[in-house]
């Protein structure tokens, strides 16, 4: 799922400079799960903003709301239709898609991102999110035992590893990070499919998804 992280408070406050009445909106889906932008985080951020403003002697009225999925038009309008008009700016704790949906629906209001959307990932353990998928549009996982070389290899190699692997199979750029190709080697070895790693892979089609991407799906 989509992983995001809250921006530093200072950065958020700089974005909000000059506004006296704002709406802080969380999202009930991905960012709730990764503890970045759900109901609790909306509460916490709003509290921090009020405390900070009070400390500086500034006026700030903060309204709070949560939309089930900020990237769905109907859900946003249902929850915020009556709240948005009364504020000067909207601070979104949604991922980049959520921020942009809200910006489109409330065009006259500045919609500001409180989060940095970082990657598609999963929990390695509670609270620790790791990147898994690069959304490259040309999935290679059948050939690498289910380990993505595009994002989990620091150089995105299809014919790995590089010559910089550290002792013990760690990555050149980070001694705490496993070399993805060593992981792939061990995985394919377990499955008796090392022939897949011996194969030569042609250069990647980096235009498999022409950005900005668009997909028309058929409803079953």
């Amino acid at each position: 799922m989509i992983i995001a992280e809250r921006k530093p408070l200072e950065e958020i406050r700089n974005m909000l400079a000059g506004y006296k009445k704002i709406l802080v909106v969380g999202c009930g889906t991905c960012v709730t799960i990764c503890w970045a932008g759900g109901e609790k985080e909306v509460g916490i951020l709003s509290s921090q903003l009020r405390l900070a403003s009070s400390k500086d002697g500034n006026e700030l009225s903060v309204m709070e709301a949560v939309v089930e999925r900020q990237c769905e038009k109907e859900m946003v309008l249902e929850e915020l239709g009556d709240k948005a008009p009364g504020v000067e700016a909207i601070l979104s704790l949604g991922c980049g898609a959520g921020v942009q949906m809200m910006a489109e629906l409330f065009e006259e209001k500045p919609v500001l991102p409180a989060l940095n959307t970082t990657f598609i990932g999963m929990p390695e353990k509670e609270g620790l999110w790791v990147e898994m998928c690069g959304a490259c549009g040309d999935c290679f996982l059948d050939r690498t035992g289910g380990i993505c070389p595009v994002v989990r290899c620091a150089k995105g190699l299809l014919n790995g590893p590089c010559g910089g692997t550290r002792k013990g199979g760690k990555c050149e750029i980070d001694p705490d990070k496993d070399c993805a190709w060593v992981l792939i080697y061990h995985r394919l070895e377990k499955q008796g499919r090392l022939n897949l790693m011996r194969k030569y892979y042609e250069p990647k089609n980096y235009r498999a998804v022409k950005r900005p991407g668009k997909v028309q799906a058929m409803q079953a």
Binding site: N159, P161, G163, R198, K204
Partner: protein, 298 residues
């Protein structure tokens, strides 16, 4: 005029290449000094390509300088900073100016360098790059278009004998051999047993006919440098006993000790015919290479 490297590979018993590392800036004075110093003492002179992801005067430009001064350049190309279009274009230019040798590398990660916020390219990897050069050599570009004026490069690649684990590296190495290379310059070796094991593995592999292996020699000038390299430089591992040896040398004779140690390694490789030659990477101390060669008896 220097002899074509391709010819040298076929005919010479023990091949020696070295590296000229460009500096940061448009001033090529020191670079030309190094080129003048080394060009006649080695069979080929590599030029690094933004080595360690530190922005420097380009490999391509330096190879031109080497040509101008009568040396035999080996152009190092990494996949980190250029996409497939830029690489093909650079190769066309290189060939048009008499640069015939190319070393195909993946490239050190951006994080190791001084422009840590730059966008890494890695449109290709080193194996794909070797294939690309072959494609150009055959008169076509990567998209299948005919070239107006072809190229004919002698292709090299790298290998890492001290990799741990070694099996994935050997699989990658086989892919490079399958793609077709004329020479291999390895990452730094210090342990002759390790090099011998690597060569044993090499001789069991496919597509090794005519491929020359040059062992990488990185001289160490001090314990601090060796420890730094162990921590920070990808693919290099200096064993403790060598760190101790250089550490014990008094300050005034450290340079001589480093030269002696490097010379000793080269001499052993030559005398025991462990592989086909050496590639000396003196990183910033190119002026000491002639002394190293002397110490090695070359």
């Amino acid at each position: 005029m220097a002899k074509h490297f391709r010819e040298t590979l076929k005919t010479k018993d023990f091949i020696v290449t070295a590296e000229a590392g460009p500096g940061k800036g448009s001033n090529t004075e020191k670079l030309v000094e190094h080129i003048e110093l080394l060009k006649d003492k080695v069979d080929g002179l590599n030029v690094t390509d933004n080595q360690s992801a530190v922005m420097r005067y380009p490999s391509l430009g330096t190879c031109l300088l080497i040509k101008e001064h009568g040396g035999e350049p080996i152009l190092q190309i990494t996949c980190r900073d250029r996409n497939r279009l830029a690489i093909q274009a650079d190769l066309l230019f290189a060939y048009s100016r008499g640069i015939n040798n190319v070393l195909c590398l993946t490239g050190d990660a951006i994080d190791t360098g001084d422009h840590k916020e730059a966008k890494p390219v890695f449109d290709l990897d080193s194996v794909q790059l070797i294939h690309l050069v072959h494609t150009l050599n055959s008169g076509k570009d990567m998209a299948g278009n005919e070239l107006e004026g072809g190229v004919d490069f002698c292709i090299g690649a790298s290998a890492t004998p001290s990799a741990d684990p070694i099996e994935p590296q050997l699989m990658k190495f086989q892919k490079k051999l399958d793609a077709g290379v004329g020479f291999i310059q390895t990452q730094a070796v210090y342990d002759m047993d390790e090099l011998k094991r690597f060569m044993e593995n090499f001789h069991k592999m496919d597509n090794i006919d005519g491929v020359k292996i040059l062992a990488g020699i990185v001289p160490i000038w001090g314990a601090k440098m060796a420890r730094y390299m162990n921590e920070n430089v990808p693919g290099i591992y200096v064993p403790q006993y060598l760190i101790d040896e250089i550490d014990q040398a008094p300050k005034e004779t450290k340079a001589a000790k480093g030269i002696e140690m490097a010379g000793r390694l080269i001499r052993q490789i030559k005398e025991e015919k462990i592989c086909d030659g050496v590639h000396i990477m003196a990183i910033g101390r190119e002026e000491r290479v002639p002394a190293i060669l002397e110490a090695a008896g070359i």
